[in-house]
Symmetry: C2
Subunit: 657 residues, 2 copies
């Protein structure tokens, strides 16, 4: 039976399991990527593992989220990241050099390689045939140490492209069409593999726009085969040597198939406030637009900004509309500047920003109240722009530039009819991507050989192996549906302590009870008690790490959200399921004692645990955990387990975890 | 007797008083300038005056301080300012178009004109022979309404320039030499008039660097005569028509004279943390530099950035040093981009920022902790960069670029010796300043004819004329040396409400007593009681406006800081001086009644007032006020007075106030 491209790459990297949908597999990782908001913790974890050197072929640390450096903590983080990259052997991309996905695509992405990145848009290089997956920071740290990455084998879906895009329709519209059809949940547990005759009509930058937006479908990743266009792109980047001709077998079998006829695609737009709220641009034409932003890892490349420059050249933006261009990389900025396009955009009234994620994550250029903002970004979740009740639309650079010219939403085909002399810019790659590499510091050019930690950068705590005897107070009893936002709020005033676990821990569960953190610190251990669906929402690891730092031993809940439960294992907190009746009977302040030898029971696969409350009555709690999760829990968390393995094996990468 | 240039311009604009040092004069204002952090209140005051149209020849509203738009309140402010400029007839410079002083110099500054601006570096266009003075926002609002500006006639000091600057020495070094000699207090109550044979060796951009930095001397303003260089500069800006040949009479008499021999000037640097802490660069050579920033209204012009581009072309910055270039205007950005210099700077590793004040006021690019930052700015007050205990040095663009190349402070002459092929870039103007005007919206291009107020933009309250009978509770009794920072804290979380007086007022004196604001609102009037030196520190008007909003009628203090006392008059609060003994005897909560007919007594020039406390005992308080201040106070403040006059006179500018 023929293989999909996904199966070929996974088989090449498989260290554990079999490639059957739903089965857990362990794969070797060739490249890792981290950025500045997740990277500090990744490197602190790497340090805590006691390792000396990065084991992957490529590790790259980017500074892209907080490049405006509003606070010295941002600048300190960047300096720490530079020192970590230098000390441990990663490439370091200086603040201002661009967004991780763009810079990685330009410099490191390679067909057939696997990549893990601590950013949700990590799948971007799938457009070059790299299998790239976003994950939590701890997984990245472990992968950097040479450990495999574990994942349930996703379904592989064939997205068959036919035809060619008409004028004014773009790769962004292809991705928006996918979102329109499948919704933001349509890709969960899936890998989208693009195939068919339409592939060859798309340039690599167009392909990476599509793979980038696969994240919005909830997909594990998206991938294209390689071809002459891939080879040509790599050659223009001066990296033809990494080209490999890869693709699925002709008789590959997929779990599902979707057909997209490119020739049917028209200019689309995602309306507020979800990326799948997609309609043809003409349906919302006439809406007054106060702000237009072109940029982000989705549409911030040279090939994305050039069309807007061609459209704006010799024209002026509408005077009530502000347009900001935030290039995705300095390579794009430099080439556009060298070719004179930057001056043309400025002449039209465009405000050029640094190369940064910036506004896409609500940092800078927050829209005015009660106004419409058109953005070439990937997400328009309500409030993400930095203001509640925002009206953010997602569209192609062409639709964005058309709105800037007219001051309202307009299908560029209609604007072209109106103006008479506006031509469809099409897609054009530069002869050579000849930007400077001055801002990319290779491991052998490193300027640091030791970590530089500002006062806000702490160490990552390690937990000891699970005790035989667990006992402590029920320090906090909570309702149903406690989110990770309740556990660690994501507001800027709190998340700026992301690299400072002791400080951040002070805010643990403060939205539920602001005395909790101090009470937990003052106690010798203790438990959390919760209702249904504990830990729903964002996947942030701090929601397990901070309770661990405060000494919490476990959580007794009626049920757990999936990702948070995994994080509890990863940080060594035992997640026990209890009945509704027992939940009702436990009071905050009760003494909780697990009667079993916990270390032994967890290791041996025991599922039922006897919990004694106030030395007065007993309940039965369940532990639902895989063998791997039990090993992690018993060791005191994934970091502790990995460290033990490294120490046992003299620093070599662990073969079986 | 011959006249100084200052006297000539003032005489041309004099509407009240005589030109004798120390005497109060009233002058007509030709141009006004406001920026985004002070401008909202200026326009709200203009609106409160009930006026329809700007009366000055030029009014220009810039958006430069908060162009990163971190918060929707920034963006709303910009939109409000655009609508105010459109509604009332001012030019509007969009966010991203540059710093007010740079854009004003390029587009509006004209020899022989007077200008008032609500920004301390307003004197910048003095380099073109304009007499430009920084002031509070209310003075700007009144001037926009056609009212005169009142000031005590300053001393006029002749700064005689001889010789010519050597290679690698710059206008910045001239200004630093002035600071070295005179200190940051050396210019208080003075106007510096530059004369002598050295003047003609300096280009207009060099002259404006010097006049800009006159603010750091504490000077009222600084001014240069005009000459062929002025004419040539204006011609390159396409504005030769505004040229006038002006200068002092040969026998002009000055209050003082300073001689600066330009040929003696060497590269200088202001060390942390005061602009007058100036030493030769060689004295601090070798200090490791982590951050270099070129920009600001002092050194953010094309002529400032070009030398750094020439120095960095074909070279790479030190890898441990970050260099940010924040152009002072889009005109500069566009010309640099068009000529290819932007690409060269990026290639060397420079991170290009938007055209903004930004880092100069601690917004963005905050230095890392315990690190050195070299900046071409005008101020290095401790903490102004956004981090306490900062190490900010001020220098020329050439010294900044040298540090970026070497990674440490170095005299560029020594670096040139070391490198062998580094030539002094000198000063070069572009053939034509041919940047686009797309971002400067003239009154006849306005897109708004009504004010657009976001939810954070309130109205400015007006006070009624002074009552005959003032009585109320002593709502707060304070110690000596209460600063305006105590009255209205300047932290970002509070000052973001600067356009929202009701909200901002909630924080009034919260650092002294956080129940005060609510108690004041709940009371029907009331008084503040303070010790010595009440209201010292920053000149912010909100420190009088907010107590006024809360209903405070007056302040009884042992003594007042000068500027805050003027602000109390301007907002209609009576400042009464009491003895130390009476201060001791008044308790918070006492009932305070002014026995006299206050309105009548203030108007008639009465100096002693009888204050009855708790209907039990009496004290004598003094009112020290000029006739003009009494008229302002009696009317309920300057805004109320001006409004009454406008209403009485059918909207015409008041002749005598």
């Amino acid at each position: 039976m023929g293989q999909t491209l996904t199966e070929k790459i996974l088989e090449d990297h498989l260290v554990e399991g079999t490639l059957e949908t739903g089965e857990e597999i362990g794969i070797e990782i060739d490249q890792v990527l981290t950025q500045d908001t997740t990277g500090t913790l990744v490197w602190l974890q790497f340090e805590a593992l006691g390792l000396d050197e990065v084991q992957t072929e490529i590790a790259a640390q980017y500074c892209d989220h907080q490049t405006y450096q509003f606070d010295f903590k941002n600048t300190d983080d960047h300096r720490f990241l530079r020192s970590a990259a230098g000390t441990f052997g990663a490439h370091f991309s200086r603040p201002g050099n661009g967004i991780c996905h763009n810079v990685h695509k330009e410099n490191f992405a390679a067909p057939g390689k696997t990549m893990l990145g601590s950013d949700s848009h990590t799948p971007t290089p799938g457009g070059l045939g790299e299998l790239a997956i976003g994950s939590g920071g701890l997984d990245v740290a472990v992968a950097m140490g040479g450990g495999p990455y574990y994942i349930e084998m996703p379904e592989v879906v064939n997205v068959r492209l036919e035809g060619e895009l008409p004028e004014w329709s773009t790769a962004k519209d292809v991705a928006l069409e996918m979102l329109r059809r499948l919704t933001v949940k349509g890709g969960v547990g899936k890998i989208f593999e693009y195939t068919g005759p339409g592939v060859e009509s798309l340039s690599v930058p167009e392909r990476t726009t599509i793979t980038n937006l696969g994240t919005e479908l909830g997909a594990t990743t998206s991938i294209f085969p390689t071809d002459e266009k891939t080879k040509d792109y790599l050659a223009r980047q001066g990296r033809e040597d990494v080209f490999e001709d890869i693709g699925p077998d002709e008789d590959a079998e997929y779990d599902d198939e979707i057909v997209v006829d490119l020739s049917d695609i028209e200019p689309l737009i995602a309306c507020p406030s979800m990326p799948d709220n997609v309609v043809p641009v003409r349906e919302v034409a006439g809406e007054t637009v106060e702000q237009v932003i072109v940029g982000s890892c989705t549409n911030g490349g040279y090939e994305d900004i050039l069309p807007t420059a061609k459209m704006l050249e010799g024209r002026e933006m509408d005077k009530k509309t502000e347009m900001i261009v935030a290039p995705g990389s300095k390579q794009a900025s430099e080439i556009l500047a060298r070719q004179g396009w930057t001056a043309e955009l400025m002449a039209a009234g465009v405000n050029f920003s640094e190369a940064t994620c910036g506004a896409c994550i609500g940092i800078g250029h927050v829209p005015a109240s009660d106004s419409v903002s058109l953005r070439t970004f990937n997400r328009n979740f309500e409030g993400r722009s930095g203001i509640e009740d925002d009206n953010v639309y997602l569209c192609s650079p062409e639709v964005a530039a058309a709105a800037a010219l007219k001051g309202e939403i307009v299908d560029p085909r209609d604007l072209a009819d109106e103006l008479g002399d506006l031509e469809a810019p099409g897609v054009e790659l530069p002869e050579k991507y000849d930007g400077s590499k001055a801002d990319l510091i290779a491991p052998d050019e490193a300027v640091d050989d030791d970590l530089v930690k500002g006062p806000n950068i702490g160490d990552v705590p390690l937990k000891d192996p699970l005790d035989a005897h667990l006992e402590g107070e029920a320090l906090l009893k909570m309702e149903d549906n406690i989110t990770t936002d309740h556990i660690i709020p994501a507001t800027q005033d709190i998340l700026m302590y992301r690299s400072n676990v002791p400080k951040l821990s002070e805010f643990t569960l403060s939205r539920v009870d602001d005395t909790f953190a101090q009470r937990a610190l003052d106690s010798d251990g203790g438990f959390l008690v919760a209702g249904e669906n504990y830990g729903q929402g964002s996947s942030r690891e701090h929601a397990a790490l901070c309770p661990m730092f405060l000494g919490i031993e476990g959580v007794l809940a009626q049920s757990f959200a999936r990702i948070h439960k995994a994080n509890l294992f990863n940080f060594g907190l035992i997640p026990l399921t209890i009945s509704a009746e027992d939940y009702e009977n436990i009071e905050q302040g009760d003494d909780i004692e697990i009667v079993d030898d916990v270390a032994e029971a967890v290791a041996s696969g025991q599922e039922e645990f006897t919990v004694r409350v106030n030395d007065d009555w007993e309940l039965t709690a369940e532990l639902d955990a895989s063998e791997r999760e039990r090993r992690i829990l018993a060791a005191g968390g994934k970091l502790s387990l990995t460290k033990q393995q490294y120490e046992n094996e003299g620093g070599a990468a662990p073969a079986d975890d």
